[in-house]
């Protein structure tokens, strides 16, 4: 079955792309071949004066190139060949000699936008599903089908770099404003307007577009070689600061754009192809693509094995505890899922503060124009609260976010159970208490589950759904589905101490504490891990999480797992000295007015050490990195996460484990289990039994196995 259907009427060809067997359009080999043939036919057919290109899919124009095809690339030469052919095809659209109008409704991304850019005119719909962008850098590559050449010529270097380097998508209205599309219309008249434009262009009409880079600044920065050098220098500095050299794609894109503007389109295309080919087969892109596939697969995973029951509908959510966490969970539930949220706290003033904090999440979205004034008003009306359990009878899901104390939680769960319907799901946002223990207070443990959110809830993308032995599959499926509606990446984890994220984090943080006690400087420790690829270092992380919270979690894990998880001895002195981290302005760093200042020198005095530069920075790094790697292997073997995929996603989204390394388990595959075991044995000899290699790692080393079965 062909992907394109073409109707020709009055000299206008209407080519509709509707990729068979797929819910979206993407540029596959088949699509390319068909388009190639069509272009040849149109070029010589005097009955065709102009062409309109549109999509037969409801929500996509063209979502991009076929990633599966690109993943199979095995050599630089092969990648280069693929890109050159893609460039040639899209170049043929531009060089057809007859007007081609892109009628864009739905996602127009990556190669889809590059194809649209080669058209003579672009009409987009004002529908919310219509978004345009070049997200390639998020997969470790960049637009190499002429996107780095045509976009800067259309809208100016600055605006083009803003799209290409960030990979962000734009709504149609914004795209029109910066000149990416020529017209924005209601979906019902898209086809008519596009055909009209095609007919006029066939008669010789040409759209008048303002020169790329408008105004005085545009003139200076976009339209002079010197100005562009300033733009590129600034962009390069910005990219370097953001990627810290770990992500090569944005810099490559920058080079391709600059080269093209300096030496012409053909030279630019050659540069695109050369740089793209290197990236496409590189480890960074491979890992980012794997991460993309993993999260995509996870989104379709119901959270239980075998035949999954359908999730229960969740329209009304009640939250016990309107404190910092509870309020943020409620705010995100309203903002993302649009459910009714009822807060309950013992003190009406706390309810008020919680409501205000939840509302602030909506206010921020309004400020950033993510929602309209009217949506804001509608969503804000979904927030309410009180000191009683009013409204709990309406609730489909209750989330408990009270103080981390089993007795307190038991009281809450008993009271909640008396107030809710029998089919209501009861979730605890605990980070330290086993869900099975929490469930002991209820008559229906099958309805009890853990939903471990990370703070700040509105920014942290991960949710751990914790399944206890008696949790019913329907409960799990419902919690997973609702977590997803809240915009979270959800992994299902077993009810083991620390769950997944805090479990693998603990030995790493403990090791950082030991290094600090050995006299390593605070900033140096943090910088080391940032250089490794973490967004922040371990001590900054502790300050953010709160030293008291971290100490409590560390204690529980120590108790559960023994010496391997023993916290550094001196660190408790810091908590005793009243240091709670950022929240009270005192931690490893000093804070003033909410801003972090320098490291707090008095920390060293408290620990009785004189700070010095690391005598062996490589060793310090290895101790921190391998502590986490080993624990990840141990926890995976215990079945804390269901798969290596879930474990890596949890580490990347929950801790900020460097995505370009693919997560701790993928990273061990990359290093090779044998090498990992050898290094752990060396560390064990030097620093103690806590580095004893996980049995699973030894087994993999012995059998030549891997955590992942793919590539």
């Amino acid at each position: 079955m062909p992907a394109f259907t073409v109707e020709t009427k009055d000299g206008l060809a209407l080519a509709r792309l509707n990729l068979p067997g797929e819910s979206i359009n993407k540029i596959t080999r088949g699509v390319r071949d068909e388009l190639d043939a069509l272009l040849t036919a149109w070029a010589s057919d005097s009955g065709v004066r102009a062409i309109v290109l549109l999509s037969g899919k409801p929500d996509t124009f063209i979502a991009g190139a076929d990633i599966d095809e690109f993943v199979r690339l095995s050599s630089v030469a092969e990648a280069r060949e693929l890109v050159r052919r893609g460039q040639a095809l899209i170049g043929r659209i531009a060089a057809l000699g007859k007007p081609v109008v892109a009628a864009i409704h739905g996602a127009c991304l990556g190669g889809g936008l590059e194809a649209a850019l080669a058209c003579s005119y672009r009409v987009a719909t004002d529908h919310p599903k219509t978004v345009l962008g070049l997200p390639e850098v998020q997969l470790g590559i960049f637009p190499a089908a002429g996107g780095c050449q045509r976009l800067p010529r259309l809208i100016g270097a600055r605006a083009a770099l803003d799209m290409i380097l960030t990979g962000k998508t734009l709504p149609a209205s914004r795209a029109q404003k910066i000149g990416v599309v020529d017209e924005v219309v209601h979906p019902a008249i898209l086809e008519t307007v596009a055909l009209g434009a095609a007919a006029r262009m066939a008669d010789g009409w040409r759209p008048r577009r303002p020169a790329a880079g408008r105004g005085i600044t545009g003139l200076l920065l976009d339209r002079t070689p010197l100005g562009r050098r300033v733009v590129f220098a600034l962009a390069r500095r910005g990219v370097t600061r953001q990627t810290r050299g770990h992500y090569p794609a944005p810099l490559a894109a920058l080079r391709a754009v600059a080269h093209g503007l300096a030496y012409g389109v053909e030279a630019g295309l050659e540069m695109e192809a050369a740089l793209f080919a290197e990236l496409a087969v590189g480890e960074v892109s491979r890992n980012l693509v794997r991460m993309f596939f993993a999260t995509t697969a996870l989104k379709k995973d119901p959270g239980v094995a075998g035949q999954a029951p359908p999730p229960r509908p969740v329209r009304n959510v009640a939250i016990v505890g309107a404190g910092f966490m509870g309020a943020a969970i409620g705010g995100v539930a309203v903002a993302q899922a649009g459910v009714d949220v009822r807060f309950r706290d013992t003190d009406i003033a706390r309810v008020g503060q919680g409501l205000a904090a939840a509302r602030k999440i909506l206010d921020d979205r309004l400020k950033r124009r993510r929602i309209t004034r009217f949506e804001h008003r509608r969503l804000a009306a979904l927030l309410s609260g009180g000191t009683g359990f009013d409204g709990f009878g309406r609730a489909d899901l209750v989330i408990e976010a009270v103080f981390e104390d089993l007795q307190v939680k038991h009281e809450v769960f008993r009271a909640v159970e008396a107030a809710v319907r029998e089919d209501c799901i009861l979730a605890s946002n605990t980070s330290t208490i086993p869900i099975a223990r929490v469930a002991e207070a209820t008559q229906r443990p099958e309805r009890v589950i853990g939903m471990h959110f990370f703070s700040p809830v509105e920014r942290m993308p991960l949710l751990e759904v914790i399944v206890a032995d008696r949790t019913a599959p329907e409960t799990t499926v419902t919690a997973v589905a609702f977590g997803r509606r809240m915009g979270k990446t959800v992994i299902v984890v077993q009810d083991r101490p620390g769950f997944w994220v805090n479990r693998i984090l603990a030995p790493y943080l403990n090791e950082a504490g030991r290094l600090l006690e050995e006299g390593l400087r605070i900033e140096e420790l943090d910088a080391m891990m940032v250089k490794f690829g973490f967004p922040v270092g371990p001590l900054t992380l502790l300050d953010e999480v709160g030293l008291d919270v971290a100490a409590k979690s560390a204690g529980i894990l120590h108790q559960a797992f023994g010496d391997r998880m023993a916290p550094a001895k001196g660190v408790h002195r810091l908590t005793q000295s009243g240091r709670l981290g950022r929240k009270n302005g005192r931690g490893f760093y000093e804070y003033r007015g909410g801003k972090r200042r320098r490291a707090d020198r008095s920390v060293y005095e408290l620990l009785g050490v004189a700070p010095r530069a690391a005598p062996a920075p490589e060793e310090a790094l290895a101790r921190m990195v391998y502590a986490m790697l080993n624990e990840a292997a141990l926890a995976l073997e215990e079945g804390v996460v269901r798969s290596a995929r879930d474990g890596d996603i949890g580490a990347v989204f929950g801790i900020g484990y460097p995505a370009f390394r693919g997560g701790p388990l993928r990273y061990m595959d990359h290093l090779g289990p044998t090498k990992v075991v050898e290094e752990l044995q060396r560390l064990e000899g030097a620093w103690g039994k806590r580095f004893q290699p996980a049995p699973m790692l030894r087994r993999l080393a012995d059998t030549g196995g891997r955590f992942y079965s793919d590539a």
């Binding site: 009406i348 309810v351 008020g352 969503l379 979904l382 409204g391 309406r394």
Partner: protein, 430 residues
């Protein structure tokens, strides 16, 4: 027996209201729509009701905002409800929410609706301020002007006094007399003394204070949250420090020389909202609700506004009792709207007067003696406040709650309203 004779019996199942706050105080940044929506959302939660169950909504508002003229529809478009619930806003001045409840009753009794929400709201902090008619005319003409010359000519006609904004007054359009002037005239004509008025006001405050402190009054209040989440949990017009001396020291407002009506013995300008949940008896059973009370009867009357403007209750009460088929003595609890102490006392005087009954009702017996122990037992509008559009729902809710606490069989509501109107309703327990 109206409910039984004329259709399905209608139950009052639950209700709640915002705190009532003096205009320009704790609720000043909110609109009447905000207040009505808050009361309604809280009602849903307190009743554990699914919004899908509601068939229709009726709300009262007196000074409507031109920006949202149908307040009820703004409420029924709350995200907790399907977007398909028809809603109407009614205006019968101070009896607006009563009228909303009565209309909801009618639709349920007729079988047109099974479950309805009724109530009302007013923000006298957020009243529309108008331009003068001359200035408005000029603006309209300007929008039609075609040439610059025409425009300039129109602009040149604007005089400084045209720019003075016009605030709506609480006056009778037919007579120009304000409410307060009417109350003042009634006090004089009926011989109501300053002392009697102040005593009623004092009792209103004392009883409202007791009701606030023991929680009977606050039980019907859904706390609201101001900027930054500061909770407002109770009515802020109820004064613990009111004394007879302080009330006596206040200057009369409407007749500075010989008058008796003061700010102390009148109801204050107030912001607030209230909502009640009504349903047919069968629906209440089917959905598992234990009704607070049932609507037994109601009546609306009107007199010539040029006569004693606020005497409506003296006409509506006997009619509602007649429709209820019960004598005055069986009424165990009364909620009487206190617009002005002079108005309450004038009506009570009429209730108790054989002569008045003969002359105005053509009856040989007076309506009945008033036992103050069962009237406004938690105070009234003078202390609690009087958001015009909401008061009727507050009275209904307060009465129903207290009837349940005292296990009273029949309760009566009486309200006077602008335009010489009166409203009365009889509630009964099962």
């Amino acid at each position: 027996m109206m409910g039984a004779a004329n259709g399905r019996r209608v139950a009052l199942v639950a209700g709640c209201r915002t705190p009532f706050c003096r205009s320009g105080s704790d609720l000043k940044d909110l609109t009447a729509v905000d207040l009505a929506r808050h009361a309604t959302v809280e009602l849903l939660h307190r009743a554990n009701l699914d919004g899908e169950q509601v068939d229709e909504m009726f709300f009262g508002q007196v000074v409507a905002s031109p920006l949202a003229p149908n307040l009820a529809r703004e409420v029924s478009l709350l995200p907790q409800f399907p977007r398909t619930i028809p809603a109407v806003t009614v205006n019968r001045a101070c009896a607006s929410a009563n009228t909303a409840i009565a209309y909801a009753h009618d639709q349920i009794a007729l079988g047109h609706a099974r479950v309805a929400i009724a109530g009302g709201a007013e923000s006298l902090s957020d009243i529309p301020v108008l331009h003068s008619r001359r200035f408005a005319d000029t603006l309209v003409n300007l929008s039609r002007a075609k040439t610059l010359g025409q425009r300039l000519a129109l602009i040149a006609r604007i005089r400084p006094r045209d720019l003075i904004p016009v605030a709506p007054a609480i006056a009778e359009p037919s007579t120009g007399e304000t409410m307060g002037q009417s109350a003042e005239r009634m006090a004089k004509e009926n011989g109501i003394t300053r002392a009697a008025q102040d005593a009623l006001a004092l009792r209103s405050h004392q009883r409202a204070l007791a009701g606030t402190q023991d929680g009977r009054l606050t039980a019907e209040i859904a706390p609201m949250f101001g900027a930054g989440g500061t909770p407002v949990v109770q009515d802020n017009g109820v004064r613990a420090d009111t004394t007879a001396e302080k009330l006596a020291a206040l200057k009369p407002v409407f007749d500075r020389r010989y008058g008796t009506v003061t700010a102390g013995n009148s109801s204050p300008l107030t912001d607030g909202g209230a909502a009640v949940l009504l349903m047919s008896d069968e629906s209440a059973s089917a959905l598992g609700y234990e009704p607070l009370a049932f609507i037994r009867s109601y009546a609306v009357t009107a007199v010539d506004p040029a006569e004693q403007l606020l005497m409506g209750p003296a006409y509506a009460v006997p009619l509602a009792l007649e429709r209820a088929g019960i004598p005055w003595r069986e009424v165990g609890l009364i909620e009487m709207h206190e617009a002005f102490a002079a108005q309450v006392l004038s009506n009570v005087q009429a209730f108790e007067s054989r002569e008045w009954a003969e002359r105005h009702l053509g009856r040989s017996e007076p309506i009945g003696e008033v036992n103050w122990d069962i009237v406004n037992v938690m105070g009234g509008s003078i202390a609690i406040g009087h958001p015009f559009g909401a008061t009727g729902a507050r009275l209904t809710l307060t009465l129903a709650n207290e009837m349940r606490r005292r296990n009273v069989q029949f309760g009566l509501i009486s309200v006077c309203a602008q335009g010489g109107m009166g409203f009365a309703m009889v509630l009964e327990r099962r």
